[in-house]
């Protein structure tokens, strides 16, 4: 276990921070799982934060000038460069502390919030560069599995079979015909000290992971599953249910990679069938039984692979 994490006891219902760094009144859709995850992550981090957003849903819903939901310093430059902007913020803090122009002992966590497109597609290069250079920052990908802000177009993180506006099912298509890109594995391949997956359904787990990500020295990456009722064609009130089902069906397993070692943080011994998860969402409505079988097989195999990673390493 990393020594930076040794003293961290974890959040519980009794010691939840009172601060809300992310203010209500923003313009997110009803039932948005992404803004919930964002709020929880910031709650875990507290007020001594500089936040960087990539262009995307969370950026536009939180900052229609002259309003802002950010009670912590916040900057948005563009879509693909949030990790690079954060690199600059982190480097500046380091040098300003060294030169006595910023209080030396004041801990400030630099955190990035970006969607799956801003992370795994257009922002992948900037992310990789920042992870490789070892900046002390937290990168949080809020993954709602498509380009929701522009009207639900497919991304590299869109799951197999999902209908989006650029992966429509038709005579020659059954929706997204590629498997979801494994961005946490890409992050882990950089040999960074901390990688984790989380969902707002297990909110203490999410908050603990975000806090650990901030506590470790060096880059940390947290991949958060973020239900999107608007893009997925699900009910707003089902967002938490879906976030839970994604874990219980093993579609979105919860794990940590600490210094290269995999730990499954929520073992699912009796998985629910994927169909239970799929049927709640209009984006999967067109799938045949065969497609669902195919998805089930893939999910089983991926989980096996993850178990082996957790055992062997």
């Amino acid at each position: 276990m990393l020594k930076e994490l040794a003293k961290f006891k974890g959040f519980s219902a009794k010691n939840l921070p009172k601060e809300e760094p992310f203010a209500p009144g923003h313009r997110a859709c009803q039932g948005c799982g992404e803004v919930l995850a964002l709020r929880l992550a910031l709650k875990a981090l507290g007020m001594n934060v500089i936040a960087v957003s990539a262009t995307g849903c969370m950026e536009i819903i939180s900052s229609p000038f002259p309003y802002t939901s950010w009670r912590v310093p916040w900057i948005h430059i563009a879509f693909e460069n949030a990790a690079a902007v954060a690199s600059g913020v982190e480097a500046a803090l380091k040098v300003l502390k060294r030169k006595g122009r910023f209080p030396k002992n004041r801990r400030v966590d630099v955190v990035v919030f970006a969607g799956d497109g801003g992370t795994g597609d257009i922002g992948l290069q900037a992310l990789s560069g920042a992870l490789e250079r070892g900046h002390d920052f937290v990168y949080i990908c809020l993954d709602n599995e498509a380009y929701m802000n522009t009207g639900v177009q497919r991304s590299g993180c869109t799951p197999y079979g999902a209908m989006t506006t650029t992966s429509p099912p038709g005579k020659k298509s059954f929706g997204q015909m590629t498997w979801k890109k494994n961005v946490p594995a890409i992050a882990a391949a950089h040999g960074i000290p901390y990688v984790a997956t989380a969902t707002p359904a297990f909110f203490l787990d999410l908050m603990n992971k975000v806090k650990k990500a901030a506590l470790v020295n060096g880059p940390a990456y947290v991949h958060v599953y973020a239900p999107c009722p608007t893009g997925w064609g699900s009910k707003g009130e089902d967002s938490i249910r879906l976030a839970k089902l994604a874990v219980e069906t093993r579609i979105f397993p919860l794990y940590e990679v600490i210094e290269g070692k995999y730990y499954i943080t929520r073992k699912i011994t009796k998985p629910k069938p994927v169909e239970e998860y799929l049927k709640l969402q209009r984006r999967f409505r067109h799938l045949t039984e065969e497609h669902i079988r195919e998805i089930q097989q893939r999910v089983d195999a991926e989980y096996e692979r993850l178990l082996r990673l957790a055992e062997c390493l």
Partner: protein, 391 residues
């Protein structure tokens, strides 16, 4: 005063950046900018410059990291050329709109294709409208002096705009010239510490880079434009101050032998040195030719320019960039528009020369001046022509 010693211009520029005590440098290597950033890395590695050097993975990330850094309150520098500058394009607009005063040196180089590492102004002309203050250096000493000036102007609270200092790639960046680096005390006297009014600091949270709905976008742009135009006064005053401390005088527009000139060559950057030789030669032959050089390209010094060309019959505008299908090269289009409402304005002949590292010789300038004389009597058939094209 410092000593005048022979130095490669890139090295001298890096030394000047060091004297400006930058806090953060983020840069990606590209020819011919490399010697500047290599020397800065060396200075950081040796502990001669206390700065964070971010070895980013692209120019897009270089400028992005710079914006993050300067927004946090650190003095920030970057440098690039050509394709690298083009890759920054998207982010370049955002820096002035958020009033983030980064300083960048561009070692000007042609854009691909065909790929060329050599000098012209195609790279920077593609960034004409990004909203950065832009200056052009003629020689090594000026390149160095413009660096001090750039930080002083950019970080002035009445300005808070990023600055690009242009210097011709290879033709200037790789030359060894006698350059005087001032004493550190002089630089400190000229350049106060960077103290931005707004920065990213948890003790006083602000939101930077919000959404601009149609109700406020125009107003935001109007505010930016007004502030940019007002920067002119600070730019010129900073040169006045510069003269007081360092003894060298800089103006937005330079003129050479313009007193009774009928024909004026108009140039930007290092070509002016050759052009001056050509002007001397033509003057000896009895031709009334002068030279005008634009040092401050953005914001465009309209009044200074009109004053500089007053009384000239024919202006030979030499563009180092092509704007395909336009009514001229970028400089010609600019000055033609600038002069349109001026009574008794000179006529304009536009020459595209020195693309992708092609030398522009004294003879080329003579040819252009001769053509300008000819066009006084007979209107040119085309709005612009290329010089030195091999048949």
């Amino acid at each position: 005063m410092g000593k005048r010693i022979a130095k490669e211009v890139s090295i001298a520029v890096a030394e000047a950046v060091k004297q400006c005590k930058v806090d953060v440098i983020a840069a990606y290597p590209i020819t011919p900018q490399t010697h500047i950033v290599e020397h800065l890395s060396e200075l950081v590695a040796n502990g001669e410059l206390d700065a964070e050097y971010i070895t980013v993975e692209s120019e897009h990330s270089a400028i992005s990291a710079c914006l993050g850094s300067v927004a946090t309150g650190a003095r920030t520098f970057t440098s690039t050329s050509s394709q690298g500058l083009a890759l920054m394009h998207e982010i370049l607009f955002i820096a002035p709109a958020l009033r983030l005063p980064v300083v960048m040196v561009v070692a000007n180089r042609a854009l691909s294709a065909p790929i060329s590492i050599w000098n012209d102004h195609g790279d920077i002309m593609a960034q004409r409208d990004v909203g950065w203050i832009q200056t052009f250096a003629e020689n090594g000493q000026e390149a160095v002096d413009l660096v001090y000036h750039a930080f002083r102007v950019a970080e002035d609270r009445r300005v808070m705009f990023p600055v690009i200092v242009n210097l011709d790639g290879f033709n200037l960046s790789h030359m060894i010239e006698p350059i005087e680096l001032p004493d550190q005390e002089q630089v400190d006297q000229y350049l106060p510490p960077f103290k931005p009014k707004y920065k990213l600091d948890p003790r006083k949270p602000i939101s930077m880079g919000p959404v601009g709905i149609p109700e406020i976008y125009t107003e935001a742009k109007k505010a930016q434009d007004e502030a940019f135009k007002n920067a002119y006064k600070v730019i010129v005053k900073a040169w006045d101050e510069f003269e007081k401390i360092f003894g060298r005088r800089y103006r937005p527009i330079e003129t050479y032998r313009m007193d009774d000139a009928e024909v004026a060559l108009l140039i930007m950057g290092s070509l002016a040195e050759t052009a001056m030789t050509a002007v001397d030669k033509m003057r000896e032959a009895g031709k009334k030719v002068g030279l005008v050089r634009i040092r401050l390209w953005r914001p465009f010094p309209l009044r200074d320019f009109v004053r500089a060309v007053k009384g000239v019959k024919m202006l030979a505008v030499i563009d180092r960039a092509l704007s395909p299908g336009a009514t001229g090269g970028p400089v010609a289009v600019e000055v033609r528009s600038a002069l349109y409402q001026v009574p008794g304005r000179p006529r304009i002949a536009n020459f595209i020369a020195g693309l992708g590292g092609r030398d522009v010789t004294v003879e080329d300038f003579e040819e252009m001046a001769d053509k300008a004389y000819f066009y006084m009597k007979k209107k040119p058939k085309e709005p612009y022509e290329m010089i030195g094209v091999k048949e």
